[in-house]
């Protein structure tokens, strides 16, 4: 028994010494006689922001696929002097090919290229809409899609389909890689009644998929007046099958006083 007590005492002393070694020294008090300014709040660092000034000379994103580099040719006179959409081209070590289409953006998805191109004319509201063309990787078999002013095409994790929205429609579309089997997921906002009460009926919807996180879409819903004044902006989370939707945040803006001030 005494032997055990000795060991317990020894271990306790050892622990006490170890813990004393970890103790911080007391802060030194100020030795000056001058009053010190009040302490500012304890800082809480954040992660690095994702918004930084872009470099001066950005190039359009080139994409490597199937042994070719696909890119938009910005150096053509039609682009630099007349503001036309650049031509989509591809090159490898031995050749350069014009794929016979102008566009401002493109995606390579599976065995297809999706090219977004502006219409030559403004629409009947004086705005610029655009169309999307699907074609094969060599530029053949071009086919315009039914969906105008397509949003960014977001790939699903399984790599078997992608998601997008299209101007004015309250739905998220799920497309196979060929965009031939397309399923619309209707976005029924849970606060639709409130929106209808607080906002004028004459409004335009802009629905965007901000991201896909945790198996849900993060949707951004913006309503604007026909003149483009923001009326409401909200964020919603919707399940990937569209069966459930939840409002995360929403802000109404005083567009009516702005409009009356202008009038």
């Amino acid at each position: 028994m005494r032997r055990y007590a000795t060991w317990i005492l020894f271990i306790g002393l050892a622990l006490a010494v170890a813990l004393a070694g970890c103790a911080k020294p007391a802060d030194s008090p100020s030795v000056t006689g001058t009053p010190q300014p009040a302490e500012t709040p304890t800082p809480i660092p954040t992660t690095a922001p994702d918004v930084t000034a872009a470099p001066a000379d950005e190039e359009e994103g080139a994409v490597l696929a199937d042994g070719w580099t696909y890119y938009l040719d910005e150096d053509e006179t039609a682009v630099t002097d007349y503001g036309e959409d650049p031509r989509l081209c591809r090159k490898n070590e031995s050749s350069v090919e014009d794929l016979g289409i102008r566009g401002f953006a493109f995606d390579v998805i599976g065995d297809y290229i999706y090219v977004d191109s502006r219409y030559p004319d403004l629409d009947d509201k004086g705005n610029q809409a655009w169309y999307t063309t699907r074609m094969s990787l060599d530029g053949s078999d071009k086919r315009r899609l039914e969906y105008a002013s397509m949003s960014e095409r977001l790939m699903a994790e399984d790599g078997q389909h992608f998601y997008f929205t299209t101007a004015g429609e309250s739905a998220v579309f799920v497309a196979d890689l060929a965009c031939e089997k397309v399923t619309p997921l209707i976005v029924n906002l849970p606060d639709a009644d409130e929106l209808n009460k607080k906002l004028d009926a004459d409004r335009e919807l802009q629905l965007d998929i901000e991201s896909i996180e945790g198996g849900r879409f993060k949707l951004s819903v913006t309503f604007v007046t026909p003149d483009g004044i923001q009326m409401y902006k909200g964020t919603y989370a919707m399940s990937l099958d569209g069966s459930a939707i939840e409002k995360k945040s929403g802000t109404y803006y005083d567009y009516k006083s702005l409009e009356s001030a202008l009038n």
Binding site: P43, D121, T166, E210, V224, G228
Partner: protein
């Protein structure tokens, strides 16, 4: 390909963009006609019950199928009849001959001209820079007329000049600027204008604008005019780093113009900057990616200042945040307590690195935000330099260096009311804002200030650069 036509009278309803948005005004033209018969150009084309991709499909049509066009393109959809079905199809999928156009264009890549769209006898090759008149269209081809030839060329070889209605006042910004009879340097000179002359700009057509000058109408190169903000408004420029409800309308407006294609998330980042540059290129402004006064005027019209009008009454308080050396701290219960009265601090202009000293002074109204003044005449001169030579109500993102720390803030250059310090070159005070601070008259947030504060917060790399170079 060209079928016998039944010409029907069909007058396009020309919709002008109302008041504040630049709109589309087609050139004067003869009666525009649309052929009543169209041809489906894509296999498995949907004929829908309503003009929406969410509407039911009535029937699918094969490539080459003939349809009867009942109504021309509205919102991108045509109303057609096919095998007894009446419905809507995307205009892109129907090739139909349109004639009676009279739109100016220019060949931008060498174009093979043919007697039929994409087919028929070869007429010749049109060189780049050839001026043409677009008289019609069929599918992806324009019917063009040039000198003694008429034929079809691919649309992507032609730049069709867009005419954008502006109706804004402007000032001539150079000396000896010619007002011409047509939008070309070969046009007759109608008048010679000098710097500072006022004009009314009616429309923008590529590099040229159509203006009224002292009772005369003509064309002047677009880079010779500086557009004017209406009334007493001033426009705060928008730049990378800004966040807030004023950025979303910018993104929405750019999207309507076809330059912004990702989510309008209220963050002025790389995508927004790229979109602004593209827009600037399209209206022949200096493409720097900063949405300054001229950019905002051309995007929103003469009432562009409205995007900076007050939107919110409250902002959710948050704990202090840090990005590099820069702190983002709320005004209420934060900076209001940190900043002592009559204690000089350094103000650094984020965009130029110019710095000067200021101090906060007391008073009831100072609780909404900080009422501040410069300390010396030299400080006033430096601040004026940061404002481009003249103090005005535009807001600018700044860092406030106080007690060794840098704080994100926004300063307005409108000198008003009084200030306690004599002989400092500033006959009054200006307003310094922090996160969540408000303006006196309405008790609301000033969105221009809040956006500038975020730009200051996210520009920590610039502060590092200024410090490293010894500028600050």
């Amino acid at each position: 390909m060209m079928k016998r036509r039944k010409i029907i009278s069909f007058i396009f309803a020309i919709a002008l963009a109302v008041s504040i948005f630049a709109g589309y005004v087609p050139a004067a033209r003869a009666e525009v006609t649309i052929d009543q018969t169209g041809t489906v150009n894509t296999p498995d084309t949907n004929l829908r019950a309503q003009p929406s991709v969410l509407s039911d499909v009535l029937v699918r049509m094969d490539r080459g199928a003939a349809v009867t066009v009942l109504e021309g393109s509205v919102g991108g959809w045509c109303k057609v009849m096919y095998q007894g079905y009446t419905g809507y199809v995307r205009s892109d999928f129907i090739d139909v001959m349109v004639t009676g156009l009279n739109d100016p264009g220019v060949i931008v890549s060498e174009a093979a001209m043919t007697s039929e769209p994409g087919d028929g006898a070869a007429i010749g090759t049109l060189a780049v820079e050839t001026q043409v008149t677009i008289t019609g269209s069929y599918g992806s081809y324009y019917q063009v007329n040039t000198q003694d030839k008429t034929g079809f060329v691919p649309m992507d070889c032609v730049h069709k000049k867009k005419i954008i209605t502006l109706n804004m006042s402007a000032t001539i910004n150079a000396s000896n600027v010619n007002l011409r009879s047509i939008p070309s340097t070969s046009g007759e000179i109608v008048a010679c204008m000098k710097r500072g002359d006022k004009v009314m700009v009616h429309s923008l057509q590529d590099h040229w604008v159509k203006v009224d000058y002292q009772g005369r109408s003509g064309y002047v190169r677009g880079d010779f005019v500086t557009y004017s903000v209406s009334g007493d408004n001033y426009l705060t420029a928008m730049n990378v780093g800004m966040r807030g409800p004023a950025v979303s309308p910018l993104q929405v407006a750019l999207r309507k113009k076809g330059f912004f294609h990702v989510a309008a998330n209220g963050v002025y980042g790389k995508a927004t900057r790229a979109a602004v540059k593209k827009f600037q290129q399209s209206v022949y402004l200096d493409a720097d990616g900063i949405a300054g006064e001229q950019t905002l005027l051309l995007l929103f019209g003469k009432d562009a200042a409205r995007i900076w009008n007050n939107f919110r009454t409250e902002m959710e308080p948050q704990k202090p945040q840090q990005n590099g050396r820069v702190w983002l701290i709320d005004w209420f219960d934060g900076m209001n307590k940190i900043m002592k009265r009559m204690t000089p601090f350094l103000v650094i202009d984020v965009r130029t690195g110019i710095s000067w000293k200021m101090q906060r002074f007391g008073g009831y109204t100072a609780l909404w935000h900080a009422d501040v003044e410069t300390v010396t005449k030299r400080d006033t001169e430096k601040m004026t330099e940061a404002w481009g030579g003249e103090l005005n109500p535009t807001r600018r993102p700044v860092w406030v260096k106080y007690d060794g720390k840098y704080y994100a803030a926004s300063l307005m250059g409108y000198v008003h009311n009084t200030g306690p310090t004599p002989n400092n070159g500033m006959d009054g005070q200006v307003c310094l804002h922090f996160r969540g601070s408000k303006i006196h008259s309405s008790g609301r947030l000033d969105e221009a200030h809040q956006a500038c504060i975020m730009e200051a917060f996210y520009s920590a790399d610039k502060l590092e650069a200024y410090i490293s170079s010894g500028k600050v």
